[in-house]
Symmetry: C2
Subunit: 120 residues, 2 copies
DNA sequence: CACATATTCAACCAATCGGTTGACGATCTT
DNA sequence: AAGATCGTCAACCGATTGGTTGAATATGTG
């Protein structure tokens, strides 16, 4: 699997995208990442391993807790690839937050990270 | 499946990314798309249907031939999503072409579209 | 009409995916 | 030492994926 394969495949799952959005706010332990989701801890652990394999997050174990940290640079290759197809103008952060809000408002998205209004 | 799921899932396959890169050059018939690949025509037809379902290409049937056309706007939502994670500076087309060249130079990519030097 | 060309359909296959459960190895706390 | 907490491993499951082949359906051409 090429790095680009891994990146896009990792991003194709809505649970994993939700996790990345959660990690935008702050670094988190595996258990804390799992807390808002209904699925098992083992399932979330697997998702995190996939994200780490794709380089989208890093995981550092301190004591018995493993901290997960967003690694936005890994998105760069994919971003370069995509921008080649349409000369997209860069997007400001307000657009992005609006986008996140809309995505998490949908019914079929597994588990909003903090979608109870307190967007920050 | 949300539109974002479909977009990223479609991009996760190197054959499909190669097809998109081919369509950057020009619109193509299904048979012509399949020509440089070693896999069957039916397999390519399926890939094209997946790309069309994700909105990344459109397919118009004129006579007995179905023309495939790149639809770069469909990448916009995904691009917005990604850029939110890292304030990526926009990338120029030269970077992109270099990137394509590198991707298609790798051994594990199924079938380069026109990687025999004549990039035009 | 007969034939070739373009594309999809249908059935099948092995491999991967996203999830579960239960057991397990570390690590902290008492 | 005993017990709780953190996270992963292993085995399993049903659904999906990416490919194959062969037949079927249009559409064009001699």
């Amino acid at each position: 699997m090429t790095p680009l394969d891994a990146t896009f495949a990792a991003l194709a799952d809505p649970t994993r995208r939700a996790i990345l959005a959660m990690l935008l706010e702050d670094d988190m332990a595996v258990t804390d990442v799992a807390q808002p989701f209904t699925m098992s801890l083992a399932a979330i652990s697997k998702h995190l391993i996939i994200l780490a394999a794709a380089g989208l997050i890093s995981q550092e174990k301190r004591g018995r807790v493993k901290w997960c940290k967003l690694e936005p640079d890994a998105l760069k290759a994919a971003s370069v690839w995509m921008q080649g197809f349409g000369q997209f103008e860069p997007v400001n952060l307000d657009d992005f937050e609006r986008f996140l809000a809309r995505e998490f408002a949908e019914d079929d998205v597994p588990q909003p990270p903090g979608s109870r209004g307190e967007v920050r």
